[in-house]
Protein backbone atom coordinates (compact mmCIF):
# COMPACT_ATOMS: atom_id res chain seq x y z
CA UNK A 1 0.00 0.00 0.00
CA UNK A 2 1.24 3.48 -0.84
CA UNK A 3 1.76 6.15 1.78
CA UNK A 4 0.84 9.47 0.25
CA UNK A 5 1.57 12.94 1.53
CA UNK A 6 -1.35 15.32 1.04
CA UNK A 7 0.10 18.82 0.54
CA UNK A 8 -3.11 20.42 1.82
CA UNK A 9 -3.52 18.31 4.98
CA UNK A 10 0.27 18.18 5.31
CA UNK A 11 0.11 14.59 6.50
CA UNK A 12 1.23 11.17 5.31
CA UNK A 13 -1.91 9.05 4.90
CA UNK A 14 -2.66 5.58 3.58
CA UNK A 15 -3.54 5.04 -0.06
CA UNK A 16 -7.09 3.94 0.77
CA UNK A 17 -8.03 7.52 1.64
CA UNK A 18 -7.12 8.65 -1.88
CA UNK A 19 -8.32 8.03 -5.42
CA UNK A 20 -5.96 8.21 -8.38
CA UNK A 21 -7.12 10.68 -11.02
CA UNK A 22 -4.75 10.21 -13.93
CA UNK A 23 -2.05 12.23 -15.62
CA UNK A 24 -1.42 15.74 -14.28
CA UNK A 25 -0.74 18.97 -16.14
CA UNK A 26 -3.09 18.30 -19.06
CA UNK A 27 -4.04 21.71 -20.34
CA UNK A 28 -7.57 22.08 -21.64
CA UNK A 29 -7.51 23.58 -25.15
CA UNK A 30 -8.23 27.30 -24.97
CA UNK A 31 -10.10 27.32 -28.26
CA UNK A 32 -11.60 23.85 -28.83
CA UNK A 33 -13.41 24.97 -32.00
CA UNK A 34 -10.23 25.32 -34.02
CA UNK A 35 -8.74 21.94 -33.06
CA UNK A 36 -8.40 19.27 -35.74
CA UNK A 37 -9.70 15.77 -35.04
CA UNK A 38 -6.14 14.60 -34.37
CA UNK A 39 -5.51 17.33 -31.83
CA UNK A 40 -8.82 16.73 -30.12
CA UNK A 41 -8.15 12.96 -29.96
CA UNK A 42 -4.72 13.69 -28.52
CA UNK A 43 -6.22 15.86 -25.80
CA UNK A 44 -8.93 13.32 -24.95
CA UNK A 45 -7.28 9.94 -25.26
CA UNK A 46 -3.51 10.02 -25.60
CA UNK A 47 -1.56 9.86 -22.36
CA UNK A 48 2.14 9.66 -21.64
CA UNK A 49 1.99 6.29 -19.85
CA UNK A 50 5.71 6.40 -19.01
CA UNK A 51 7.78 3.56 -17.67
CA UNK A 52 9.53 5.67 -15.05
CA UNK A 53 8.67 9.03 -13.50
CA UNK A 54 5.05 10.10 -13.83
CA UNK A 55 3.29 13.25 -12.71
CA UNK A 56 -0.24 12.36 -11.72
CA UNK A 57 -3.24 13.73 -9.88
CA UNK A 58 -4.71 12.20 -6.75
CA UNK A 59 -7.87 13.14 -4.93
CA UNK A 60 -7.92 13.06 -1.14
CA UNK A 61 -11.39 11.48 -1.21
CA UNK A 62 -11.71 10.61 2.45
CA UNK A 63 -9.85 13.66 3.70
CA UNK A 64 -9.84 17.24 2.50
CA UNK A 65 -11.47 16.23 -0.84
CA UNK A 66 -8.92 18.28 -2.77
CA UNK A 67 -6.96 17.31 -5.87
CA UNK A 68 -3.18 17.51 -5.76
CA UNK A 69 -0.20 16.31 -7.80
CA UNK A 70 2.23 13.51 -7.13
CA UNK A 71 5.47 12.53 -8.86
CA UNK A 72 5.79 8.75 -8.70
CA UNK A 73 7.96 6.12 -10.33
CA UNK A 74 5.69 3.70 -12.21
CA UNK A 75 8.14 0.80 -11.95
CA UNK A 76 9.17 0.98 -8.29
CA UNK A 77 6.01 2.90 -7.21
CA UNK A 78 8.23 5.16 -5.12
CA UNK A 79 6.64 8.56 -4.54
CA UNK A 80 9.19 11.32 -5.03
CA UNK A 81 7.10 14.32 -4.03
CA UNK A 82 3.61 15.71 -3.78
CA UNK A 83 2.69 19.29 -4.57
CA UNK A 84 -0.37 21.51 -4.79
CA UNK A 85 -2.44 22.14 -7.89
CA UNK A 86 -0.98 24.90 -10.01
CA UNK A 87 2.56 24.21 -8.87
CA UNK A 88 5.27 22.64 -10.99
CA UNK A 89 7.13 19.45 -10.02
CA UNK A 90 10.64 19.79 -8.63
CA UNK A 91 11.56 16.22 -9.59
CA UNK A 92 11.49 15.63 -13.34
CA UNK A 93 12.85 12.87 -15.52
CA UNK A 94 16.32 13.49 -16.82
CA UNK A 95 17.40 9.97 -17.74
CA UNK A 96 16.78 8.77 -21.28
CA UNK A 97 13.56 6.86 -21.76
CA UNK A 98 11.74 8.59 -18.95
CA UNK A 99 9.30 11.36 -19.57
Amino acid sequence: MLLIHCPYCEEMREEEEFSPAGQAHIVRPLDPEVLSDEEWARYLFFRKNPRGLHHEMWLHTHGCRKYFNVTRNTVTYQIMESYKMGQQPSVTASEKGQS
Binding site: S19, G22, D37, R47, N49, R51
Partner: protein
Protein backbone atom coordinates in the same frame (compact mmCIF):
# COMPACT_ATOMS: atom_id res chain seq x y z
CA UNK B 1 6.82 -33.65 -34.34
CA UNK B 2 5.91 -36.36 -31.92
CA UNK B 3 2.13 -36.76 -31.69
CA UNK B 4 0.81 -36.79 -28.15
CA UNK B 5 -1.69 -39.53 -27.31
CA UNK B 6 -2.72 -41.87 -24.52
CA UNK B 7 -0.83 -44.66 -26.28
CA UNK B 8 2.31 -42.49 -26.43
CA UNK B 9 2.05 -41.88 -22.71
CA UNK B 10 1.88 -45.62 -22.14
CA UNK B 11 4.89 -46.42 -24.38
CA UNK B 12 6.99 -43.67 -22.84
CA UNK B 13 6.20 -44.97 -19.38
CA UNK B 14 8.18 -48.10 -20.33
CA UNK B 15 11.32 -45.95 -20.60
CA UNK B 16 10.51 -43.92 -17.48
CA UNK B 17 9.50 -40.89 -19.60
CA UNK B 18 13.14 -40.12 -20.33
CA UNK B 19 12.87 -40.03 -24.12
CA UNK B 20 10.28 -37.35 -24.77
CA UNK B 21 11.19 -35.06 -27.66
CA UNK B 22 11.97 -31.44 -26.82
CA UNK B 23 8.80 -29.43 -27.27
CA UNK B 24 10.49 -26.65 -29.27
CA UNK B 25 13.98 -25.68 -30.46
CA UNK B 26 16.13 -22.86 -29.19
CA UNK B 27 17.61 -21.57 -32.47
CA UNK B 28 20.28 -18.96 -33.19
CA UNK B 29 18.68 -15.90 -34.82
CA UNK B 30 18.87 -15.77 -38.61
CA UNK B 31 19.91 -12.54 -40.37
CA UNK B 32 16.54 -11.98 -41.97
CA UNK B 33 12.93 -12.94 -41.33
CA UNK B 34 9.84 -12.13 -43.38
CA UNK B 35 7.95 -11.35 -40.19
CA UNK B 36 9.32 -10.60 -36.72
CA UNK B 37 6.76 -10.81 -33.94
CA UNK B 38 7.75 -8.95 -30.78
CA UNK B 39 6.29 -10.69 -27.74
CA UNK B 40 6.17 -14.43 -27.08
CA UNK B 41 2.94 -14.62 -25.15
CA UNK B 42 -0.23 -16.39 -26.20
CA UNK B 43 -1.22 -13.71 -28.73
CA UNK B 44 2.24 -13.52 -30.34
CA UNK B 45 2.58 -17.28 -30.62
CA UNK B 46 -0.96 -17.64 -31.98
CA UNK B 47 -0.19 -14.99 -34.57
CA UNK B 48 2.95 -16.89 -35.63
CA UNK B 49 1.03 -20.16 -35.80
CA UNK B 50 -1.79 -18.81 -37.98
CA UNK B 51 0.65 -16.93 -40.23
CA UNK B 52 2.48 -20.17 -40.87
CA UNK B 53 -0.57 -22.39 -41.13
CA UNK B 54 -3.07 -20.27 -43.04
CA UNK B 55 -0.93 -17.78 -44.95
CA UNK B 56 2.08 -19.91 -45.82
CA UNK B 57 4.60 -17.49 -44.28
CA UNK B 58 7.04 -19.64 -42.35
CA UNK B 59 10.17 -17.49 -42.18
CA UNK B 60 9.01 -15.98 -38.89
CA UNK B 61 10.71 -15.18 -35.61
CA UNK B 62 8.93 -14.66 -32.32
CA UNK B 63 11.19 -12.47 -30.19
CA UNK B 64 10.65 -12.67 -26.45
CA UNK B 65 12.67 -10.81 -23.82
CA UNK B 66 11.93 -13.35 -21.08
CA UNK B 67 10.52 -16.81 -21.61
CA UNK B 68 7.49 -17.92 -23.64
CA UNK B 69 4.15 -17.22 -22.03
CA UNK B 70 5.75 -15.57 -19.01
CA UNK B 71 3.86 -12.28 -19.06
CA UNK B 72 0.12 -11.81 -18.83
CA UNK B 73 -0.46 -15.28 -20.33
CA UNK B 74 0.79 -16.66 -17.02
CA UNK B 75 -0.96 -14.06 -14.90
CA UNK B 76 -4.63 -14.07 -15.86
CA UNK B 77 -7.59 -15.90 -14.40
CA UNK B 78 -8.11 -18.12 -17.48
CA UNK B 79 -11.74 -17.23 -18.15
CA UNK B 80 -12.99 -17.64 -21.73
CA UNK B 81 -16.34 -16.14 -22.75
CA UNK B 82 -17.86 -14.08 -25.54
CA UNK B 83 -20.94 -12.38 -24.03
CA UNK B 84 -19.88 -8.84 -24.91
CA UNK B 85 -22.38 -6.08 -25.57
CA UNK B 86 -21.47 -4.43 -28.86
CA UNK B 87 -21.53 -6.16 -32.25
CA UNK B 88 -17.87 -5.50 -33.09
CA UNK B 89 -16.54 -6.86 -29.81
CA UNK B 90 -18.92 -9.80 -29.55
CA UNK B 91 -18.12 -10.93 -33.12
CA UNK B 92 -14.40 -10.88 -32.34
CA UNK B 93 -14.71 -12.73 -29.03
CA UNK B 94 -17.20 -15.22 -30.50
CA UNK B 95 -14.77 -15.90 -33.35
CA UNK B 96 -12.20 -16.64 -30.69
CA UNK B 97 -14.51 -18.87 -28.65
CA UNK B 98 -15.29 -20.92 -31.78
CA UNK B 99 -11.57 -21.41 -32.37
CA UNK B 100 -11.11 -22.45 -28.73
CA UNK B 101 -13.67 -25.21 -29.22
CA UNK B 102 -11.49 -27.15 -31.65
CA UNK B 103 -8.09 -25.91 -30.58
CA UNK B 104 -6.85 -28.78 -28.41
CA UNK B 105 -7.42 -31.24 -31.29
CA UNK B 106 -5.88 -28.91 -33.83
CA UNK B 107 -2.73 -28.28 -31.80
CA UNK B 108 -2.56 -31.85 -30.47
CA UNK B 109 -2.06 -30.32 -27.04
CA UNK B 110 -4.27 -30.65 -24.00
CA UNK B 111 -5.43 -27.10 -23.26
CA UNK B 112 -7.74 -28.31 -20.49
CA UNK B 113 -10.44 -26.19 -22.11
CA UNK B 114 -13.51 -26.70 -19.99
CA UNK B 115 -16.83 -25.19 -21.05
CA UNK B 116 -18.20 -25.05 -17.54
CA UNK B 117 -20.21 -21.88 -18.13
CA UNK B 118 -19.89 -18.38 -16.77
CA UNK B 119 -22.35 -16.60 -14.48
CA UNK B 120 -22.34 -12.80 -14.34
CA UNK B 121 -24.27 -11.90 -11.21
CA UNK B 122 -26.64 -8.97 -10.89
CA UNK B 123 -26.90 -7.38 -7.46
CA UNK B 124 -29.05 -4.35 -8.20
CA UNK B 125 -32.02 -3.53 -10.42
CA UNK B 126 -29.69 -1.61 -12.72
CA UNK B 127 -27.37 -4.64 -12.92
CA UNK B 128 -30.35 -6.73 -14.01
CA UNK B 129 -31.40 -4.20 -16.65
CA UNK B 130 -27.86 -4.18 -18.03
CA UNK B 131 -27.74 -7.96 -17.98
CA UNK B 132 -31.03 -8.26 -19.87
CA UNK B 133 -29.86 -5.77 -22.45
CA UNK B 134 -26.56 -7.59 -22.92
CA UNK B 135 -28.20 -11.02 -23.11
CA UNK B 136 -30.63 -9.76 -25.76
CA UNK B 137 -27.76 -8.24 -27.72
CA UNK B 138 -25.83 -11.52 -27.48
CA UNK B 139 -28.77 -13.56 -28.75
CA UNK B 140 -29.23 -11.23 -31.72
CA UNK B 141 -25.58 -11.92 -32.51
CA UNK B 142 -26.05 -15.67 -32.31
CA UNK B 143 -24.22 -16.06 -29.01
CA UNK B 144 -25.75 -18.39 -26.45
CA UNK B 145 -26.79 -16.37 -23.44
CA UNK B 146 -29.55 -16.57 -20.87
CA UNK B 147 -30.96 -14.57 -17.99
CA UNK B 148 -31.28 -16.67 -14.85
CA UNK B 149 -33.44 -15.97 -11.82
CA UNK B 150 -32.16 -16.08 -8.26
CA UNK B 151 -33.63 -19.56 -7.77
CA UNK B 152 -31.88 -20.86 -10.89
CA UNK B 153 -28.57 -19.35 -9.76
CA UNK B 154 -28.98 -20.88 -6.31
CA UNK B 155 -29.67 -24.28 -7.82
CA UNK B 156 -26.57 -24.02 -10.00
CA UNK B 157 -24.26 -22.75 -7.24
CA UNK B 158 -25.60 -23.97 -3.87
CA UNK B 159 -22.70 -22.42 -1.92
CA UNK B 160 -23.50 -18.89 -3.13
CA UNK B 161 -25.27 -16.75 -0.54
CA UNK B 162 -28.54 -15.91 -2.32
CA UNK B 163 -30.48 -15.06 0.83
CA UNK B 164 -32.46 -11.84 1.05
CA UNK B 165 -30.32 -10.48 3.87
CA UNK B 166 -27.05 -10.94 2.00
CA UNK B 167 -24.65 -8.00 1.78
CA UNK B 168 -24.72 -8.39 -2.01
CA UNK B 169 -28.18 -9.84 -2.75
CA UNK B 170 -28.26 -11.94 -5.91
CA UNK B 171 -31.16 -10.76 -8.08
CA UNK B 172 -30.26 -12.93 -11.04
CA UNK B 173 -27.45 -13.51 -13.48
CA UNK B 174 -26.51 -13.87 -17.10
CA UNK B 175 -25.36 -17.34 -18.09
CA UNK B 176 -23.22 -18.36 -21.03
CA UNK B 177 -23.00 -22.15 -21.09
CA UNK B 178 -20.29 -22.35 -23.77
CA UNK B 179 -17.96 -20.14 -21.80
CA UNK B 180 -15.48 -21.59 -19.36
CA UNK B 181 -11.82 -21.81 -18.52
CA UNK B 182 -8.62 -23.12 -20.10
CA UNK B 183 -5.12 -23.87 -18.86
CA UNK B 184 -3.30 -20.60 -19.47
CA UNK B 185 0.27 -21.94 -19.85
CA UNK B 186 -0.86 -24.76 -22.11
CA UNK B 187 -2.25 -22.30 -24.65
CA UNK B 188 1.12 -20.61 -25.05
CA UNK B 189 2.98 -23.93 -25.06
CA UNK B 190 0.55 -25.53 -27.52
CA UNK B 191 0.81 -22.63 -29.98
CA UNK B 192 4.60 -22.50 -29.51
CA UNK B 193 4.99 -26.21 -30.22
CA UNK B 194 2.72 -26.08 -33.28
CA UNK B 195 4.37 -22.92 -34.63
CA UNK B 196 7.86 -24.34 -34.07
CA UNK B 197 6.78 -27.43 -35.98
CA UNK B 198 5.79 -25.24 -38.95
CA UNK B 199 9.26 -23.68 -39.01
CA UNK B 200 8.83 -20.61 -36.80
CA UNK B 201 11.93 -19.61 -34.82
CA UNK B 202 11.19 -18.93 -31.15
CA UNK B 203 13.89 -16.59 -29.83
CA UNK B 204 13.72 -16.41 -26.06
CA UNK B 205 15.90 -14.15 -23.89
CA UNK B 206 16.01 -11.75 -26.82
CA UNK B 207 15.01 -8.21 -26.00
CA UNK B 208 14.16 -5.68 -28.69
CA UNK B 209 16.00 -2.44 -27.93
CA UNK B 210 15.00 -0.52 -31.05
CA UNK B 211 12.81 -0.80 -34.13
CA UNK B 212 14.61 0.44 -37.23
CA UNK B 213 12.59 2.42 -39.77
CA UNK B 214 13.86 3.67 -43.13
CA UNK B 215 11.90 5.88 -45.56
CA UNK B 216 8.64 5.26 -43.72
CA UNK B 217 8.99 1.48 -43.81
CA UNK B 218 10.18 -0.86 -41.13
CA UNK B 219 13.49 -2.64 -41.90
CA UNK B 220 14.21 -4.64 -38.78
CA UNK B 221 14.73 -4.75 -35.05
CA UNK B 222 17.78 -4.13 -32.91
CA UNK B 223 18.07 -6.74 -30.16
CA UNK B 224 20.51 -7.70 -27.44
CA UNK B 225 21.58 -10.52 -29.80
CA UNK B 226 22.26 -8.17 -32.71
CA UNK B 227 20.29 -6.66 -35.55
CA UNK B 228 17.59 -8.79 -37.16
CA UNK B 229 16.33 -7.59 -40.53
CA UNK B 230 12.59 -8.01 -41.13
CA UNK B 231 10.07 -7.40 -43.87
CA UNK B 232 7.29 -6.85 -41.37
CA UNK B 233 7.31 -6.28 -37.62
CA UNK B 234 4.30 -7.11 -35.47
CA UNK B 235 4.17 -5.83 -31.89
CA UNK B 236 2.23 -7.97 -29.42
CA UNK B 237 3.77 -6.78 -26.19
CA UNK B 238 0.72 -6.06 -23.99
CA UNK B 239 1.77 -3.80 -21.12
CA UNK B 240 5.00 -2.78 -22.85
CA UNK B 241 3.39 -1.81 -26.20
CA UNK B 242 3.71 1.87 -25.40
CA UNK B 243 7.45 1.43 -24.87
CA UNK B 244 7.77 -0.18 -28.33
CA UNK B 245 5.65 2.53 -29.94
CA UNK B 246 7.95 5.19 -28.53
CA UNK B 247 10.89 3.56 -30.37
CA UNK B 248 9.29 4.63 -33.65
CA UNK B 249 8.02 7.93 -32.29
CA UNK B 250 4.43 6.76 -32.17
CA UNK B 251 1.97 7.35 -29.37
CA UNK B 252 -0.70 4.85 -28.42
CA UNK B 253 -3.82 5.76 -26.44
CA UNK B 254 -2.91 3.19 -23.80
CA UNK B 255 -2.41 3.30 -20.09
CA UNK B 256 -0.76 0.44 -18.21
CA UNK B 257 -2.27 -0.61 -14.89
CA UNK B 258 -1.59 -3.43 -12.47
CA UNK B 259 -4.31 -6.10 -12.37
CA UNK B 260 -4.12 -8.53 -9.48
CA UNK B 261 -5.22 -12.11 -9.06
CA UNK B 262 -4.64 -14.86 -6.53
CA UNK B 263 -5.10 -18.58 -5.91
CA UNK B 264 -5.96 -20.47 -2.77
CA UNK B 265 -4.61 -23.76 -1.50
CA UNK B 266 -6.04 -26.76 -3.44
CA UNK B 267 -9.47 -27.86 -2.24
CA UNK B 268 -11.83 -30.73 -3.02
CA UNK B 269 -14.23 -29.88 -5.89
CA UNK B 270 -16.69 -27.26 -4.62
CA UNK B 271 -17.37 -24.86 -7.50
CA UNK B 272 -18.04 -26.28 -10.97
CA UNK B 273 -18.60 -23.05 -12.87
CA UNK B 274 -17.22 -19.51 -13.07
CA UNK B 275 -18.92 -16.85 -10.95
CA UNK B 276 -18.24 -13.22 -11.81
CA UNK B 277 -19.62 -10.08 -10.29
CA UNK B 278 -18.90 -6.75 -11.90
CA UNK B 279 -20.54 -4.96 -9.03
CA UNK B 280 -18.12 -6.13 -6.35
CA UNK B 281 -15.07 -6.38 -8.64
CA UNK B 282 -14.52 -10.05 -7.98
CA UNK B 283 -14.67 -13.34 -9.85
CA UNK B 284 -13.88 -16.87 -8.86
CA UNK B 285 -13.52 -20.31 -10.39
CA UNK B 286 -11.88 -23.55 -9.31
CA UNK B 287 -9.02 -24.99 -11.31
CA UNK B 288 -8.69 -28.70 -12.04
CA UNK B 289 -5.94 -28.82 -9.42
CA UNK B 290 -8.47 -27.58 -6.89
CA UNK B 291 -7.26 -24.03 -6.25
CA UNK B 292 -9.79 -21.26 -6.17
CA UNK B 293 -8.68 -18.74 -8.80
CA UNK B 294 -9.79 -15.27 -7.74
CA UNK B 295 -9.42 -12.08 -9.71
CA UNK B 296 -9.64 -8.46 -8.63
CA UNK B 297 -10.35 -5.19 -10.37
CA UNK B 298 -7.46 -3.10 -11.68
CA UNK B 299 -5.52 -0.75 -9.44
CA UNK B 300 -6.38 2.81 -10.34
CA UNK B 301 -2.84 4.14 -10.85
CA UNK B 302 -0.32 3.53 -13.63
CA UNK B 303 2.12 0.75 -12.90
CA UNK B 304 4.70 -1.36 -14.67
CA UNK B 305 5.78 -3.14 -11.52
CA UNK B 306 3.70 -6.35 -11.94
CA UNK B 307 2.25 -5.83 -8.50
CA UNK B 308 -0.52 -3.72 -7.03
CA UNK B 309 -1.79 -2.49 -3.71
CA UNK B 310 -2.89 -4.72 -0.89
CA UNK B 311 -6.15 -2.86 -0.27
CA UNK B 312 -7.45 -3.92 -3.70
CA UNK B 313 -6.85 -7.57 -2.84
CA UNK B 314 -8.49 -7.04 0.52
CA UNK B 315 -11.64 -5.55 -1.01
CA UNK B 316 -11.95 -8.40 -3.50
CA UNK B 317 -11.51 -11.06 -0.83
CA UNK B 318 -14.03 -9.33 1.44
CA UNK B 319 -16.57 -9.35 -1.39
CA UNK B 320 -15.91 -12.97 -2.34
CA UNK B 321 -16.37 -14.05 1.28
CA UNK B 322 -19.63 -12.12 1.55
CA UNK B 323 -20.88 -14.03 -1.50
CA UNK B 324 -19.35 -17.39 -0.51
CA UNK B 325 -19.29 -17.53 3.31
CA UNK B 326 -18.01 -21.11 3.06
CA UNK B 327 -14.67 -19.80 1.74
CA UNK B 328 -13.98 -17.72 4.83
CA UNK B 329 -11.33 -20.07 6.23
CA UNK B 330 -9.65 -20.89 2.92
CA UNK B 331 -5.99 -19.88 2.89
CA UNK B 332 -4.44 -18.12 -0.07
CA UNK B 333 -1.38 -19.58 -1.68
CA UNK B 334 -0.16 -16.89 -4.06
CA UNK B 335 -1.12 -13.45 -5.30
CA UNK B 336 0.38 -11.61 -8.24
CA UNK B 337 -0.13 -8.72 -10.61
CA UNK B 338 0.07 -8.35 -14.36
CA UNK B 339 0.47 -5.16 -16.40
CA UNK B 340 -2.66 -4.56 -18.45
CA UNK B 341 -2.63 -2.04 -21.28
CA UNK B 342 -6.07 -0.49 -21.34
CA UNK B 343 -7.64 1.62 -24.07
CA UNK B 344 -10.01 4.47 -23.27
CA UNK B 345 -12.91 2.40 -24.66
CA UNK B 346 -11.88 -0.94 -23.10
CA UNK B 347 -11.44 -2.53 -26.53
CA UNK B 348 -8.20 -3.66 -28.16
CA UNK B 349 -6.20 -2.17 -31.00
CA UNK B 350 -5.51 -4.57 -33.89
CA UNK B 351 -4.15 -2.32 -36.53
CA UNK B 352 -1.78 -1.29 -39.26
CA UNK B 353 0.18 1.87 -38.56
CA UNK B 354 1.34 4.81 -40.65
CA UNK B 355 4.73 3.05 -40.87
CA UNK B 356 4.73 0.48 -43.66
CA UNK B 357 5.16 -3.06 -42.37
CA UNK B 358 4.57 -2.21 -38.70
CA UNK B 359 1.53 -3.67 -36.97
CA UNK B 360 0.17 -3.45 -33.46
CA UNK B 361 -1.99 -5.83 -31.46
CA UNK B 362 -2.40 -4.31 -28.02
CA UNK B 363 -4.74 -2.60 -25.62
CA UNK B 364 -6.56 -5.77 -24.56
CA UNK B 365 -6.69 -4.44 -21.06
CA UNK B 366 -8.12 -6.97 -18.70
CA UNK B 367 -9.54 -9.38 -21.28
CA UNK B 368 -6.84 -10.62 -23.61
CA UNK B 369 -6.62 -14.25 -22.58
CA UNK B 370 -10.03 -15.32 -23.88
CA UNK B 371 -9.20 -13.78 -27.25
CA UNK B 372 -5.86 -15.56 -27.71
CA UNK B 373 -6.72 -17.73 -30.75
CA UNK B 374 -9.12 -15.23 -32.29
CA UNK B 375 -6.75 -12.30 -31.95
CA UNK B 376 -3.89 -14.35 -33.36
CA UNK B 377 -6.08 -15.43 -36.28
CA UNK B 378 -7.30 -11.97 -37.32
CA UNK B 379 -3.93 -10.35 -36.64
CA UNK B 380 -2.16 -12.93 -38.83
CA UNK B 381 -4.61 -12.11 -41.63
CA UNK B 382 -3.99 -8.39 -41.15
CA UNK B 383 -0.21 -8.89 -41.39
CA UNK B 384 -0.26 -11.34 -44.30
CA UNK B 385 -2.57 -9.23 -46.49
CA UNK B 386 -1.44 -5.85 -45.20
CA UNK B 387 -5.17 -5.24 -44.87
CA UNK B 388 -7.27 -5.63 -41.75
CA UNK B 389 -9.34 -8.78 -41.34
CA UNK B 390 -13.06 -7.81 -41.45
CA UNK B 391 -13.40 -8.64 -37.75
CA UNK B 392 -10.32 -6.54 -36.91
CA UNK B 393 -11.33 -3.51 -38.96
CA UNK B 394 -13.38 -1.76 -36.23
CA UNK B 395 -10.39 -2.06 -33.89
CA UNK B 396 -8.28 0.22 -36.03
CA UNK B 397 -6.12 2.76 -34.20
CA UNK B 398 -7.84 5.55 -36.20
CA UNK B 399 -11.03 5.08 -34.23
CA UNK B 400 -9.78 7.43 -31.54
CA UNK B 401 -9.56 10.21 -34.09
CA UNK B 402 -12.73 9.39 -36.00
CA UNK B 403 -14.71 8.92 -32.80
CA UNK B 404 -15.96 5.44 -33.68
CA UNK B 405 -15.19 4.05 -30.24
CA UNK B 406 -16.54 0.70 -29.10
CA UNK B 407 -17.55 1.38 -25.53
CA UNK B 408 -17.26 -2.01 -23.85
CA UNK B 409 -16.82 -0.74 -20.31
CA UNK B 410 -20.16 -2.24 -19.36
CA UNK B 411 -19.19 -5.77 -20.29
CA UNK B 412 -15.44 -5.53 -20.08
CA UNK B 413 -14.35 -2.68 -17.86
CA UNK B 414 -14.17 -4.56 -14.63
CA UNK B 415 -14.30 -8.29 -14.45
CA UNK B 416 -12.63 -10.92 -16.58
Amino acid sequence: MQQYSGFGLLTHSLTYHENWQRVWNNPIPKKHYDVVIIGGGGHGLATAYYLAKEHGITNIAVVEKGYLGGGNTARNTTIVRSNYLWDEASHLYEHSLKLWEGLAQELNYNLMFSQRGVLNLGHTLQDMRDIERRVNANRLNGIDSEVLTTAQVQEMVPILDCSKGARYPVMGASWQARAGTARHDAVAWGFARAANNLGVDLLQQTEVTDIRVKDGAVVGVETNRGFISAGKVACVAAGNSGVLAKMVGMDLPLESYPLQAMVSEPLKPILDTVVMSNHVHGYVSQSDKGDLVIGAGIDGYLGYGQRGSFNVVEHTIAAIIEMFPIFSRVRLNRAWGGIVDTCPDACPIISKTHIKGLYFNCGWGTGGFKATPGAGHVFAHTIAHDDPHPLAKPFNIDRFTSGQLIDEHGAAGVAH
